[in-house]
Amino acid sequence: MPLSAQHVSYTYTSRRGAPSFALRDVGLAIERGSLTGLLGPNGCGKTTLLRLLAGIVQPHAGTVTLDGRALGSLSRRAVARRIAVVPQETHPAFDYTAIEMVLMGRHPHLGSFALEGPQDVDIAHDAMASTGTDHLADRAYMTLSGGEKQRVIIASALAQQPDVLLLDEPTASLDLGYQMEIASLLQRLNRERSVTMVMATHDLNLAASICDTVVLMREGRIQAHGATGDVLDGDAVKRLYGVEADVRFHRDAGHLVVVPVGRAR
């Protein structure tokens, strides 16, 4: 198990000082090479769990381990050499070029004063090539379309050469075309580069189409964790979102599809 969480809790403190749990006693083991979908309603703790798995924040109780070693005992750079993160959207404060954005992924592999060498540039171009963005290298990141931006960000995560890629709703702000594009890109990277992926998403059909495993979350707890075909059904959708849905195998698509029918009574 490359990445796992044991009895992890995380608490946000409200303004009045009352603690509110974001995660309660979460245990999760991510299989090596899997593409795991993290599903659940808004505020169920998906993003918090991803931030904990990435070591961006430390759990208030329990541990997150990478190959058996607690993330907290590793240096930030050592964690970043193994785990990369793709957020929903990325807005740099300055006008970086796409290649500069991708090269920033090399940071954990370089010293504080080092500049990227030719080898780093090759790694960056390789990452851009496999996300189909190499022709955008010298364009200003901010002038790219939403889909291009997200592919550049995925390239920058690949330039980190991680074993594990954590994605937080990577397609949420993209149109259907880009959603399909990112989905097949992720699936390909998962297979070809054997990058373990955990993806939080609201898009049940995206999860059904590319995830081999899904984790269902509700109110800071994990409700179910298993193969997509076993776990994702009408009952699960109803429990998570309070929505009646028709979940069935679509022969042309080759995977489960989820059609919401109405609010559950």
């Binding site: 931030r51 961006i56 750079r77 070029t97 090269l103 060498g117």
Partner: protein, 361 residues
């Protein structure tokens, strides 16, 4: 990395050549050669400005004669004017210009806001209150080479920075940049009310002195103030030198930076402390000189791109040259009348910045 004779190189010759071509095609990327060339270029500009600025003034002097070691110093009027009358002022200008410009770059990245400047967080307000108190109440406390007004300025600046820092940090958590911004803006407003109150209750001469201080001035009258500010500025510059890579990451976002291996809380702390030190030192030396901290970084970005490993050293050097140049204009434009430096930087910087905004908007 891999030369043609390097048999262990994992790339095939054809790909290698392709990759060389690819590298050659990239102009904008930070390579060692490009960083060195940029620093060299701006460095030469800064040094030339500092050497040539002392030559211009009410009495024209010759650089060759000023550096002519065969004439005894006591008899060499050019050398005396160069080294005693004008060089301290030029060096102070270079130090303040470099300090404000690099503090501007650091604050802009820390706050993820290209419109931030060294005074956004209330440091200049605190410094001005300190200076006003010293002027209005005729304080005569001095420590070592620090005379009363710079000392009070420094205390005010440091006090304001500390206050803003405490407001924006909770133990063990990353800094809240929005709290930092709001606290800074609020403190600035509060301090300007205090300044007006002090002016209201002060005598006419004191108000005039204070107003003059607020306009900024490099007429420091000798090397002592420069030497007094130097240790502080040196610490600030050393700390800032550790930041460029991390500032690139921070300007993408603090979670992004953390996921790339940056210790965000630590970098934010170093960035805040170093930029506040550089600002405080600058203000204690020359008063609150505006626009350097915002115009210089933006101008530099237009020329060299936005990578902080290039922008930071280039801004420090260009800031030095810019302020020395502005001070030269302040001294000579309407000679023998001298225009306060803060007015010159704002009158050059203001319209330029507006042009920049309109052009980019």
């Amino acid at each position: 990395m891999s030369s043609p004779t390097d048999v262990t190189a994992p790339v095939a010759p054809a790909t290698h050549q392709a990759s060389v071509r690819r590298h050659a095609a990239r102009g904008a990327r930070a390579t060692k050669a490009r960083v060195l060339a940029t620093i060299g270029g701006f460095g030469v500009l800064a040094i030339l400005t500092c050497l040539l600025a002392p030559l211009v003034g009410s009495t024209h002097i010759s650089l060759l004669r000023a550096f002519d070691r065969t004439i005894p110093f006591a008899d060499n009027v050019d050398a005396q004017i160069f080294f005693i009358a004008r060089l301290p002022r030029v060096l102070a200008g270079a130090l303040v210009g470099a300090g404000l410009a690099s503090a501007g770059v650091v604050f802009q990245a820390l706050l993820r806001n290209p419109l931030a400047d060294p005074f956004t967080l209330g440091v200049s307000g605190g410094a001005s209150v300190g200076a006003m108190l010293a002027i209005s109440f005729g304080l005569s406390l001095s420590v070592g080479p620090l005379s009363p007004v710079p000392l009070a300025t420094l205390s005010g600046a440091a006090g304001a920075a500390f206050l803003v820092y405490r407001l924006a940090t909770t133990a063990g958590r990353a800094m809240s940049t929005s709290v930092l911004l709001l606290a800074g803006v609020t403190l600035n407003a509060f301090f300007s009310a205090v300044i007006m109150l002090l002016q209201y209750v002060s005598s006419f001469t004191e108000v005039y002195r204070a107003m003059r201080w607020l306009m900024g001035d490099l007429d420091i009258g000798g090397f002592t103030p420069v030497i007094a500010a130097l240790p502080l500025m040196a610490i600030a510059f050393v700390l800032i030198a550790f930041l460029p890579s991390a500032l690139n990451q921070l300007s993408v976002g603090s979670d992004a930076a953390a996921s790339r291996g940056v210790d965000v809380a630590r970098v934010q702390r170093i960035a805040f402390v170093s930029a506040s030190l550089a600002t405080s030192g600058s203000v204690s030396l020359a008063g609150p000189i505006g626009f350097v901290g915002i115009v210089v970084p933006h101008l530099v970005r237009l020329i060299v791109g936005v990578d902080h490993r290039v922008v930071l050293p280039a801004s420090a050097l260009f800031g030095a040259a810019f302020l020395v140049g502005c001070d030269l204009a302040a001294r000579t434009l309407f000679s023998p009348v001298e225009i306060p430096l803060g007015i010159v930087t704002a009158m050059i910087g203001g319209p330029f910045f507006l042009w920049l905004l309109v052009r980019r908007g």
